[in-house]
Structure formats: C-alpha cells, structure tokens
Subunit: 342 residues, 4 copies
C-alpha cells in the first residue's frame, strides 16, 4: 500500500486527488497539508469525503511528509521547487501538479513565471508526466512534472499529426475553452458565479503561461520548430476543457486511421468514430481524453476536437496514472470510473 501525501490539500486538484485516492486499492492518503487549516479534519472542509477520509490537515513541513512513499504537490507555482530536493533526498518520490518542473529551459520558465527557479538542477531530471509520450521514463522517474490542463488536451490532439509530419507546423492554432475550476479555489472576483456564469470570454490572448509548455512538447514530437497561436477561453461550466485545433495539411493522409493507430491500446485516449463531435460532459469526472478528427469539406484544413476533464486527465487523474506507473501498479488502477452524465 503506497503511503501518499498531498501538499496543498485545499485546492481543487488537491481535493480531486483525495476523491480519486479514497477508492484507490493500492494507495492510501496518510498526510494532507494546509497551513491555514492545520488541525482541522479534511472532511470538515470537504463534506463529500465524510466517512472516506479520516485525515487531519497538518502544516506543510518536511518531517510530516518524510514517511510517505509519494508526495503530490497540488500547490501554486513556486512551492514544489523549494521542497522537492529534500523529499527526494529522503527517498520520497515527488509528483508535482504545478508548473515548477515542466519547462526544460529554465530561463524561459523564469520569464513566464516571473520568479527565480529554486531547483534548476532538478529540472533536467524531472520527467514530463504525459504517459502517452513518456510511459517508460515515468516508470523510472523519481520526480514527475505533471502536464498542465490545456497542454494535455492540446498536445494529445496535435501529437499524431506532428509525429507523422503531415501538417504545416509553422502555423498552428489552438482555440481552447476551459471550465472555471481551472482557475482554482481562490477568492477572486472574476471567478465569482455572478461574473463567470452565463458569459464567455477569451483571456491571456497576448500570451498564456501554458504556451511555452505546449510548444516544448509539440517541438519534441515534430522534431522541428513549431509556430502556435494559443487562445484560452473561460466557459460557464465547472469542469471540462475543449480544445479546437486547426492545422494545414501538407500531404494526403487518412486522418482517422492515423489517430486510431497512434492511440491504439491507450486506455485513456479514445478516438471517436469518424464524423463524431466530442463533448466535455462525456469525460466529466473521468480520466479520459476523447478526440474527434475532421477535415471540413475535404479541404486542406484539419480540425481536431479534444476534450478532457481539466481536474482529472488534466491534473489529478493523470498524476495518479503517473503514480501507478512509478510504483509498478496497473496503469489504470483507481481510475476506472465512468463519466458523470448527465
């Protein structure tokens, strides 16, 4: 039984880890930290967990976490990089859901995240936790940088095209839409229901932090430089990301077959049948990415529709998938849920 710790248990990715791990047969949450709520039962903050979680919040101190086999960081950016080295030194595996170890170019990271990196020496070691790309490396890793929510949806949609070199990689567009839980459990006016409900808007059009992360993964897949315009939007729903991806085909190809072959055997990527549309409700609460492939009017523009639940395949579910791989458990253990429809 894996003893798991969660640093930052009062945010949405934290409580989502608790939801998933509560029923995981091979892992047990032994520590959940929260500076603000230390000493209080976790299920007082989250009544959905009553009867399923007896843990009390503890302060985020190293000694509280050192007995864990794995520690998840469900923290704002900038926390994991200050604690990871010490945990690794004590033999604890680290799975970071924040952005601290995602970008290999530390200068680039510092530019986009506006702080100095506290553990640049660990960046190279960290494995980018996208199992559909890095499965073998994840199995060997001590430190996982879990992909962001947008990057997961966008990369899984573009990868087959880039790997096969069938599109113009210089002019790609990712028009992405996220539910409001992506903004986290933070008291901020734009996330109020009176502000975000019944409305739709783009944000960060001049440049969003997920852009360099997406570009990095796409360039690795393409083996060449990639030109990407990424526009995120806020959608009046709680969970879900829908990425609509546009590329220009450079050679004739059976797109449906290309995607089906790429993801054959992948438990958590589901290529829908030709002509389908993907709908975020069909992956709500599940660890699955569903993808639909279109070539409107037989023209040279490919349109890929890629949907995930931002808190599951876009965060905590994918983190548990990585944990399973790191500890030799079946990859899908604890993740065999069905989307909550309706």
């Amino acid at each position: 039984m894996i003893r798991a710790g969660i640093v930052g248990g009062t945010g949405y990715t934290g409580v989502e880890l608790l939801r998933i791990l509560a029923l995981h047969p091979g892992a047990e949450v032994t520590v959940v930290t929260s500076r603000a709520d230390a000493g209080q039962r976790v299920d007082k903050t989250y009544p959905s967990l009553r009867g399923l979680c007896d843990v009390v919040f503890t302060p985020p101190e190293l000694d509280n976490l050192a007995d864990c086999d794995a520690v998840f960081f469900a923290t704002p950016n900038g926390t994991a990089m200050t604690m990871a080295a010490d945990l690794l030194a004590r033999g604890v595996k680290v799975i970071d859901l924040s952005a601290d170890f995602r970008i290999k170019d530390v200068n680039e990271w510092e530019k986009w995240y506006g702080m100095s990196h506290a553990s640049p020496e660990l960046v190279a070691e960290a494995v980018y936790g996208l199992p559909e790309v890095n499965r073998e490396a994840i199995k060997q890793a001590r430190l996982i940088a879990c992909p962001g929510c947008y990057p997961t949806a966008v990369q899984l949609g573009f990868l087959p095209l880039l790997e096969q070199g069938v599109i113009d990689a210089g002019h790609l567009i990712a028009d992405a839409k996220s539910g409001v839980s992506g903004a986290g459990r933070k008291a901020e006016i734009p996330s109020l229901m009176s502000e975000a409900g019944e409305s739709f808007k783009a944000y960060g059009v001049s440049g969003h932090r997920h852009l360099p992360e997406i570009r990095q993964g796409m360039q690795l897949a393409a083996g060449e430089s990639v030109g990407l315009t990424f526009v995120p939007h806020l959608t009046p729903m709680i969970r879900g990301i829908h990425a609509t991806l546009y590329a220009k085909l450079t050679k004739p190809v059976d797109l449906q077959a290309l995607f089906e072959q790429r993801y054959q055997g992948e438990r958590f990527v589901d290529v829908l049948s030709a002509g389908s549309h993907a709908d975020t409700r069909n992956v709500r609460g599940s660890n699955r990415c569903q993808i639909a492939v279109h070539q409107p009017q037989g023209g040279d523009t490919v349109v890929i529709l890629s949907v995930i639940d931002n808190l599951v395949k876009g965060a905590s579910g994918q983190a548990v998938q990585a944990m399973n791989l790191m500890f030799g458990l079946p990859e899908g253990q604890g993740l065999e849920t069905v989307a909550l429809y309706p």
Copy 2:
C-alpha cells in the same frame, strides 16, 4: 454474476443504471431495451460508456429479458405493470424505478396517475424499496417498487421525527427543490436550457404525484394520519434534490441525537454535525443522503435539510442497493463512489 436487464435504457435513470452497473463487481448488464434505438450500440447513444459497455439495444420483448436474473424498469409510468407478472412467472426479479407499484391503494394510484392499473394483484406483494425502512422485506422480495426522488429525500428527513412522535403530524411542510434531470430525458420545452436555466419556479403546487407516495410512507412511520403540504420547485442545476422540511415540535427532544441514533450504521444516510447546512454538490453522483437538523432560535419549529442526488439515491443507486440486498451481496457493492466536487 447477476445478469441484469434494463427496460427503457435511453432515459436518465437508465443510463445512470448503466453507469453504476458498468463497474459493479457482482452484476453485468446483458440486455438493454429501447424500441426506438433497437439494433444500435448503447455507447453510440452514450459516448461516456465507450469501452465499458458492449451491449446493443434490443426491443423490449419478454423473450429478450427472460434470461436475466433481475430486470430494472427505467420506464415511464405504466410500462412495468404490464410486464412484471410475466417476468416474475419466469423467475426474474423485478426492480421498478417507475411509480407503478409504489401506492398500496390502487384507487388512489389510478386517480393520481390517470390510468387503470394493469396488475393490481401485484401491488400488495411489491416491497417499497427504501432500505432504511424495509431492509429485511427487500431481501425477501421478488418485486421492488423503488421510491421516487422527492419521496426519498422527504421521508428520510421526516422519519425519525414521525417514528418518535415528537412533532405535530397534522401540519407538515416539505418545500423541495430538484435539478432538471428529474424531468427526464424528454424533448419538452420547459426543460430546455433557455427555459430552465437561470430561473427558479415552483410547479404542481395544487398537487404533485409524489404527494400520496410520501404521505403513505410517513403515515406508516407515524402510525397516524399525516397532513402534508408538498411544494416541488425546479432548480437551475442538473442533479440534486434539496428538501427543506418544517414541523412543529410537540415535546422537548435532543434532535441531533435522535437523528444520529436513527441512522447509526446506515451506510448511505449521513447526519451532518450540529449547525451544518447540507449542500447538494456534496452528494452529486453518490448514493448518499446528507441531513442537517435545525431548531431556529430554539423555538418550536424544526427545520430539516435533506439532500440527495435524484438520479442515484433518488433512483438508480437506490435500485442497485435493493438489488444487492435481494441477491445477498454487500449492500453497498458498486455504490462506493465519492461525490463529484467541484
């Protein structure tokens, strides 16, 4: 492995049975009927089930269902009563999620449901499937009448008070609020998002079909006639029922203790700590009823807050709970999920 059939698989209680049974270790769905969609794969209608359900819709004919151990009716009112006798005769247990067998007084049933009852002789045999009241009878039953969604939330909230005779049973009020999935998967204008979204209304104030069902259960618990005003409301959310119950205390009593004792050991009824409020999101997707008990300003009015997910504890989850009891499985098997928060 229980072979389960579902009649009426294209409504919300039908697909919710499919969601729950897809991961149930002791049961397997072998037949799903739909006249309209016969011949089509179930997971084409419900892409959330891709990879988890290989069944094809069949017409709702007896021969297709006779090999089942149990058949669930997730049909409109009036269907189960025409097929139940034949299934029982072939040794198939019947779990009816519709209203056909809920009301013991057939005349009363016919008045409220506006049709003649096709199997009045089975009404007496049918066991009302509320495990917290009828657990032993359910274990022995061949035919279960699953409680309605409002009746589940309202009865679980009032029962401890009525059983102990501490309230004026002649003047009770149940102000209940339901999400829109309670109206079913039917193409009707009032259920459109443009109509039901961002709005709130009462309906059926002059008399709702769940009133006689609730009153019947409450009278059994009270051992006396009960006067109940029941007002249902439509709430702009998909899942969830919140019942706010009002009664006048007739004797001093420790209300919190009374509720905790009544539901001690009940896996799916959770009495919240004193001073709490119940929130439908904390039971979304789970089979749990959460109850909070209040006595405002120490006066003689009791206020009970009772929440369920109308499709789970209010329908399909409770039906599976009954199935588990009927077949000697652990009562909570396949129902050990955590509410989907946020």
Copy 3:
C-alpha cells in the same frame, strides 16, 4: 434634472443603479465613489456602460457629494450611518440601500449587525422605502431605508393576508431562494462558480439578518406579534428571488380576489391569474414583483409564490422608485423595462 451620487459604485447594487439611471430621463449620475478605483473611468470597470457613462470614480468624501440632489448608498452595512447626517445637513436627500436605517429598534439592529449605530437619532426619521406600503411617507422623506431583497419578496407576499387578518400570524414560514448576486461582488470562496454553480443549499438557518426586518414590517401590517421561520437558500443562478410562503388560514376568504384588490393599481406588483406559478426569469432585469396564490387541495394552508429580481425590485430599482416619489417624478420613470427572457 436630478443630480445623483452613488457611494460604493463597484458592487452589484451600484452598477445596477448605473444601468437604470443611465437611461433615466429625469436623473443624471454626477458622482460615483470608490476608494479603491478612484481616478479610473467607471466604464473601464463596467464595459457594459461604455458610451453611456463618462464618470470617473472619486473618493467617498463629503465634498464630492454635496452638490448632488440625492445620494444613493450602495455600500456595505455601516457606511451610510456615518455620512447621512452630514449630507442631510447640506440639503442632500439620502437613499440607503444598506441595512443601516431599516430597523426601528436600535438595540435589535446592533444585536443583528454586530456594531454600534453611529446615527441612532436618524433611525426614527428614516422612511422604510417600500412604496406599496409607505408611498405617501416616501414622498415627504429626506432619508430612505430601502428594503432588503428577501424582505421585499416576503413582505409583498404576506402583506395582504396579514392586513386582512385571515391567517394564523403566529406560525408563518418563508422558504426563500436567492440567486448568487445577492451575496454581492465580493471575492469569497462560497460565491465562486465552482462552489455555487450546480448546487443548492440553505444557509443562515439559525438566524439571518433579514429576519428582524421582515418581522418588523409584518407586525406593522398585522397589528400584532408575528411568529416567522425564515430559511434562505442559495440557488445556482445569478439574479432572482423566489419566496415560497406558507400560512394557515383562519377564516374562509377568496384569496385570489384579496390579492388582486390589494395590488390593484400597483405598477410593480403583478398578481398572476389563478393556478399560475411564478418564475424568476419573468422578472429578470425588471422592477416587478409577480405573485401567485395557491390553496393546495382546498385545505387550510395558503401557499404564496412571490418572485422579484433581487437587484432591481429587491434593491436598485426600488431605490429609483423611491427617488422618483421623493422628487415628484412619475413613479415608474426609468423603470419601464421588460424582463430579459430567455
């Protein structure tokens, strides 16, 4: 042309005043205060007002407001009571949308609002701004205490019954449901869309600040003490209040006629035809209260359904209605809008 000032222009009642007054033919907003946003254009905060409002936020200082004919306080409780006397002394009429002057019993006010009252001497002078009760007094007033949102919906629903003495005033129930804009434009976690969306809950069951205000108005109407249980609920929509009111009839009466007569000629209270249900969407964005009257199964329980838009008839619209009366304008001027359906 009335020169109007708004203190606290960055909350929802403030921007709603701006929306209404932008098109009011007899008034002009000349000052909008905000300490935090002083110096910034109002339409930068509220792009919906671009082209309709040229005002720049100023600090909330007396000299900035002294040239106004009327000043609205759209502030948290505790602000208006510190500034009202000085404004009145300079000949400015004051319309307070907060709770500072609503409760005539200053001790009671201090108990519920948890602070000392800064202007107890003005409390007696203040006129409770419910035109359907106090029209003539409002016309003469210098200082208006605008009713709260719940109190407006609940009082308008109960008044005809209490005034005629046809119900048991000792055991009344008001089960009220509000959209989330009622919580204001404050950065608080419970108001996040991820928390309040797709969920329903009661709050403040042990005692809500609107209770003494409602009780005060009802006792004036009844001419006797009133026993009221008031339970507010949070509903996953932005605007709207639905109050469901329960009372026991003490004498036979034609309820529909009683309500129609009481509100005959009232421009902003609309008694729906018998058998109707009220729906908050039908008053969204309008200054109207719609009321439906029911007597289920001809029993002795009356059920009144009363709906308003909490920001209009429950706050800023009613405040403008009072302003019109105070300045001798047609009562409905600037308020002749149609609800935004769908």
Copy 4:
C-alpha cells in the same frame, strides 16, 4: 406610429421582437401570429410581457397581416419565402429574420437548406440587413434579409481586415461559440438543460448553413475569393456569441487604429481599447457588438474577438435597427438599452 406584425411569435426571436417593440416609441405590434396558439393572449405564453402587450395570437394568414406597415418573419426557414411576395404586393415592408433571402446564389441556398426556393425572383431584390455595410440600401428597401447570428459576429470582426486587404483571405478561421438560445425554442433533446448545461461541444464541423452566408459577405468586402474554416460550438449559457477569428497578416498595419476608424460613428459597434478582452455578458440584452483586436507576441497572426447577443444584434435588435432605417426613424430608437450585467 408603425404598425408591426410578427409572424412566428412563439420562438425566441419573436418574443425578443416583442420585448424590444413593447417600449419602442415609434412602433406598435398589432399582429402576432401563431398557428398553434391562435386565440390565446400573447402574455399568457410570455408572462414577462404582462401589462405591456394586449395582443392575441392570430393564425398566420395574409389578411391578418395586410394592415401592417412592416411584417417581421421570426419563423423557421422556408416560411417567409412563401408569403413575402403577397405582402410586398399589398405595400407591406418585409423584414425576414430567417435565412430565406440571405444567399444571392439560389442554387447554393437550395443546396444548404435542402428545399426549393419559392420566390427566387425576390432574392435579388432583398437587401442584406447589416447596417454597418448596407445602411443606404436598407433605407430604400422593401425586403430585408436579416443576417444570421454567427454571420453578424464573424463579419463585423473580419470586415475591416478584408476591406483593407491586409490579411491572407485564403486561410481564415472563425471559431465561434453560441449560447443555447441560438437553437431556438424547439423541443429537442440536445437543447435540454441536462444535455447542454455544464458541457461544451463543437457541432456541424463538416459544414454549417451559416458558412455560405458568411463567405458571401466576406467576399463582397474583400473583392476576392475567401477561404474560411468555420466551427460553431454550443456553450452552456443562454444568450451570447463569441467569435474568435484568426488571420495571417500580409502587411504591417496599426490594427487598433484600423478598427477604430472603420467603426467610428457606428452606434452599435464598439471597438474596445487595446489589450482588452470582449465578454458576452457586457452585451447581454443589448444591440451592441464589442470587438477586441490582438496580435499575439507581435507575430503575423491577428486574433479578433467579437461578441454579440445572438437574439439582439444577432437577430431581433438588428431587425429593429433595419426597420428604423427603412421608416426614417433614428437608427437607434428603441434600442438604447444597457446590457444586463451581472
């Protein structure tokens, strides 16, 4: 006073016309047709109009409409084309909100709409009712083809770029998101709140009927053939369209200035200041289009954000704007409302 008739008064564009015209000082609705509801008061179907509309639905027959000065068709496609000629012959001006007269190439229209055109001879005469393009022609017109909702948002966003020839017109992308009211007031399962709520999906990716309409308008503006990929999405809100438009710049240009100059003096197109994002809530219920212009990271991709209320500037508001022009009234009469925020 213009006597206006509305054919098809029971859909969302019909009731939106009623909402706008109820307060229009220069027009009066004298006839509203509905075959299904003939004989019933309009305000029984729409209680939001109580006190503001005394009209009774009549059958959609010519004689009922011949006394009107203008008749609006708020009907499904295929109705206006069968009645327009007769109305014009009787001197009635026709404003068609459906698609019947939008496409100049009748063969193209018949291909996309799947029926024979009943009045091909009128197609040439019909004026496309986008005032920002065709103002003078609208003033002279007898027959107006009102633009579709998506076409309005997309064209207003692309026009300045196409007219100035600064983008590659061969590879344009319009990623558009609509609220569910765009699907109309039709009893269809995909529009149920349980289906469309809390979810996001694309639809019609292989080809949507608004594509040829958008392309026609864009080609007129560009003076050349246009290559457009148009992907519509369904968004879990009631009102609003957000079009995100992508193009490749072919020459250096001050984009912000270009847009501000193009729409200078346009009452209903508002170019937001540089760096802004457009939000559908800021135009909810108003006839305004708000546009934001971006050039991410100074690259060669232009991103235009264009928002409207699909029922106002995307349908009924724009239709009234056209009526005002046709009858010599101030263009904005009856349309001077403020968006309903929050």
